[in-house]
Symmetry: C2
Subunit: 203 residues, 2 copies
Amino acid sequence: MKLYDNRRAPNPRRVRIFLAEKGITVPSVQVDLLAREQKSESFRRKNSLGSVPVLELDDGECIAESVAICRYLEELQPEPALFGRDARERAQVEMWNRRLELGLLVPVGQVWIHGSPHTAKLVKQVPAAAEFNRGVIARFLRWLDGELAASKFVAGERYSVADITGLCTLDFATVLVGISIDSTLSHLSRWHAAVAGRPSAQA
Amino acid sequence: MKLYDNRRAPNPRRVRIFLAEKGITVPSVQVDLLAREQKSESFRRKNSLGSVPVLELDDGECIAESVAICRYLEELQPEPALFGRDARERAQVEMWNRRLELGLLVPVGQVWIHGSPHTAKLVKQVPAAAEFNRGVIARFLRWLDGELAASKFVAGERYSVADITGLCTLDFATVLVGISIDSTLSHLSRWHAAVAGRPSAQA
């Protein structure tokens, strides 16, 4: 197997952390996103959408989309279970992972697209859309803080792929997108410190 | 089990079609979205985000998010497999389902939020964001049409949950959001006719 990766992008980091939590090592290739290498003809043969991460299997079959890659790795090596241990837990982890993607990662992506100087040359930005989504994010984080008051990790008492999604999204939001997080959200910041403090977060 | 449903919204329809393909019958309760019943205190005890669908289990545990519900139902009744039959197929189905969600359902949702008269009273719309996302959708559909030239269904030769996502998203886009689809996309329209013609599409 081979992972097409990029050190600065949030989605490949999700796969690297997942691998680290599993204790799996996979050789990786850095894809130069600034040089638009992911949009090259040769890379599009691996993922016609032209994005990273991509996991290439030994026979050349390629899996794109970070969660699809993680799910495949979970099947190869079930322990520790990061998608849940039984049907109910898996449903809760899936629910939480999606809540964080749709409620947080998607609007953070909108702020990135419409509000970042990094993307200004690539798209016709709509600054009001960035502003709108900053509001969506602030409300979502307030809600998430309330939920984290009652649970150790995002999906309950066990660390899961939903925590990885949350960590990578929040770090992307603050470090690259320039979104500041309300520091009075104490449950959120307790959770962030816990997941960011795991060795896997350095992956 | 009990399904909290709404006949007009796209996400509950995904679960109804999934149930129909599985041949499972679950009693359902219609949630009045126009009356904002999903935002009521009693409904938020089932799903604190205040959205449908929600599957309530017999002991009161609730699963929100359409794909989390479908995945739980797949575990209860594995056949016919709508998330794939083995690890590789499951990875491909997951990849395709996410491509359709992130690449199509999310921008269609943005057009709905920022361009529909139905949502104008609920949010401070950014019309330029609707326009931007119409372009995203047109480009995605052109790409999808090219992919469908080589495969019968979205994720390959077998019908899957990714087809359900695609069907519900396209129908929502055209019927409720008022997005018109380029009629020269012949592979897309062949695929749409095939999935819309299955009995489950009436669910």
